[in-house]
Amino acid sequence: MSESVVDPQTTNAAPPLFESWGRYPKYNANLIPLNWQSDFPGVVAGVKNGALPVGLGRSYGDVCLLNGGTLMPTTGMSRLLDFNPETGVLTAEAGISLAQVLDFAVPRGFFLPVTPGTKYVTLGGAIANDVHGKNHDAAGSFGNHVPCFELVRSDGSRRICSPTQNAEWFAATIGGMGLTGVITWVQLRLRHIVSRKIDYEGIQFHGIDEFLDLKHRYQDVEYTVSWVDCASTGKNFARGVFMLGEHSKVPGELTRTPEPKLSVPFDFPGFALNHTTVSMFNSVFFHKQMKQHVRTVQDYEPFFYPLDAVLHWNRGYGKRGLTQFQYAIPWDHAKEGTIAILREIAKSGLASFLAVLKAFGDVPSLGMMSFPQPGIMLALDFPIKPGLTFPLLERLGDMTREFGGRLYSAKDAAMTPEQYQAFYPQWQDFARFRDPLLNSSFWKRVTGDNSTL
């Protein structure tokens, strides 16, 4: 890749001050935090090589990095500003995390309208990547639940953006990867709950046909997601567990979640995750669900955020880090594409713990550059292995393109410019909304546009 990637195996240099979740690539950048809504653009006046607002660094690749530039962590802007218990509309600064929003909302009988698989993302980050969750069928993506937000540009102009006010800026900023300006505050429409509990069901399936049958049978269930074993071939090919959940309708506990205690304190050695250990993990996971069909009531934490219980789990992938491959292929080719790609992954032997399979619904995203589209979505992690991971990812990217799908910028460290521009042909329209001061290593990589003020 780029010549200035810090290779952790060959240097003893201190790790960069800000890393993405995949810890690949590693780029050095200057950090200037934004603690107040009035900080930007004043606090970065005169910086060289551009700037980029960032949240908690939970996107995987380089969409939250700017090599040699200035990153502006927004997590100090974490104030709650207003809450209307009648409408459930919360107004908060953009650097607040979903975890903090839940701490506030759950005791009051409210929940996030859409949540990704980690609660350690900021509101600004959730908008910038237009994140989605297990209820995409019914709810669409995160931006569908944002009545408005404030966008500040490097020229000092401030805009309140909504579907009707500054609508083009609203659309460009949702899924806009932080490039259109700094989001200072956000309104979010929360939903009612009466309990922390989730009515959960888990059902085994064997193969994509069974997965699609289950999806049709349970299309009225709010939350659905599947785990799929992509290490296995033969009779176990594409076996998995279809997981369903609904917020319990039985009034129950509405307390805050205690702080997590487990953390991976250091990097695992590179060999810790290999084909054997991953296959073992997948088998254990599959057979933990011993029965064909399990029904239980569980807390929302393990249902939505199973991995948040272990802080820094990404260190399990060692110093070289990991990346994720995540596609959405429209229904036309969804089944054949998914089978072909799963075969290619199984053949590679580079498979990973987490392969998540899900059907996206028909609710259109409001963002110009949003990832979700109706069809099948697959996401899985790959450890970075020199000479192996990137050739595979390029093949998988090309296959995704052939089947009419697209990849998710927030999870990417490998898309080629040709792939990106085919996945997002509207990229040049979007480029007109980019703030001239702001850029990211991702944007430079996939568009070749290196310009900053």
Binding site: L17, Q37, S38, G76, R79, F83
Partner: protein, 264 residues
């Protein structure tokens, strides 16, 4: 009869005090102060916040109200203007209908390099970090002595324990404050008033943003939790994180003939 009435009033104050502490916060938009206030807000405290910047203060106040504070009053004021202190403090205490804790958190780091050449800069640091708190605490201590109750929790710094070339103006202003607090404690403790000297080590806040090694500084929420706990326990001198008590013990005992040659 009158004893019973007094007891009833005390119980009312106590039960009120236990569930809703009345806290005056001076310098409420400082990173450590805001983080501490979030803990108190979650306990349902009544807060009166004073800060210089109206927009920042409004955001902090809205946040603390939503996080559970049972009352949030505010006043925008430049506390360098000591003439306004008596009226401002009387108004604050009146708004809170009493005061259990005064949390004095104003302070500036200042520009050490500039202050080495420019007395105006040096005087500014000393004024904000020492003179203004002395003025505030003089009024507040006398208010508390009259009532034989109250906690005056004041943020000084480990930097005040020994002057170092990298920040001796900030350090000397905090050294003066630490000495003032020790003397004040000696005077008012016997009147039932607690004076607490809080000495944070380097903490990740906007004050220290961009400083070398800032990523290793203490987490502001942990520091705030230690301060809130220290106030509950009426600690006299609190080092946060606690390791700084030992570090500064060592630093204070390095002989001057060696110390003067170190780059600290």
């Amino acid at each position: 009869m009158s004893t019973q009435a007094t007891q009833a009033a005390e119980i009312a104050i106590n039960s009120n005090g236990n569930t809703a502490k009345k806290i005056l916060v001076l310098g409420a938009t400082s990173g450590i102060a805001e983080a501490t206030c979030r803990i108190w807000a979650a306990e349902g405290a009544q807060l009166f916040l004073v800060a210089r910047n109206a927009n920042k203060l409004a955001a902090v106040a809205a946040d603390l109200k939503l996080r559970g504070a049972s009352y949030v009053g505010t006043a925008v004021a430049d506390l360098d203007d000591t003439n306004i202190h008596p009226e401002l403090l009387a108004h604050a205490v009146n708004s809170l209908t009493g005061m259990d804790i005064a949390y004095v958190a104003l302070g500036v780091l200042g520009d050490q390099v500039k202050a080495e050449q420019d007395f105006e800069q040096a005087a500014q640091i000393i004024y904000t970090n020492f003179m203004a708190p002395v003025s505030l605490l003089t009024w507040l201590a006398n208010y508390c002595v009259q009532r034989h109750a109250g906690v005056l929790a004041v943020i000084s710094s480990v930097a005040g324990d020994r002057g170092r070339k990298s920040n001796y103006l900030y350090g000397s202003s905090k050294a003066g404050l630490t000495a003032f607090l020790a003397g004040l404690r000696n005077r008012v403790d016997r009147e039932g008033v607690t004076v607490m000297t809080i000495k944070p080590g380097p903490v990740q806040t906007s004050m220290t943003a961009g400083m070398k090694g800032a990523e290793k500084f203490a987490n502001v929420n942990k520091v705030a939790a230690a301060i809130a706990k220290g106030i509950d326990k009426r600690v006299d001198v609190l080092y946060v994180p606690a390791i700084w008590r030992i570090i500064m013990l060592v630093v204070r005992h390095i002989p001057e003939r060696i110390f003067k040659k170190l780059n600290l």
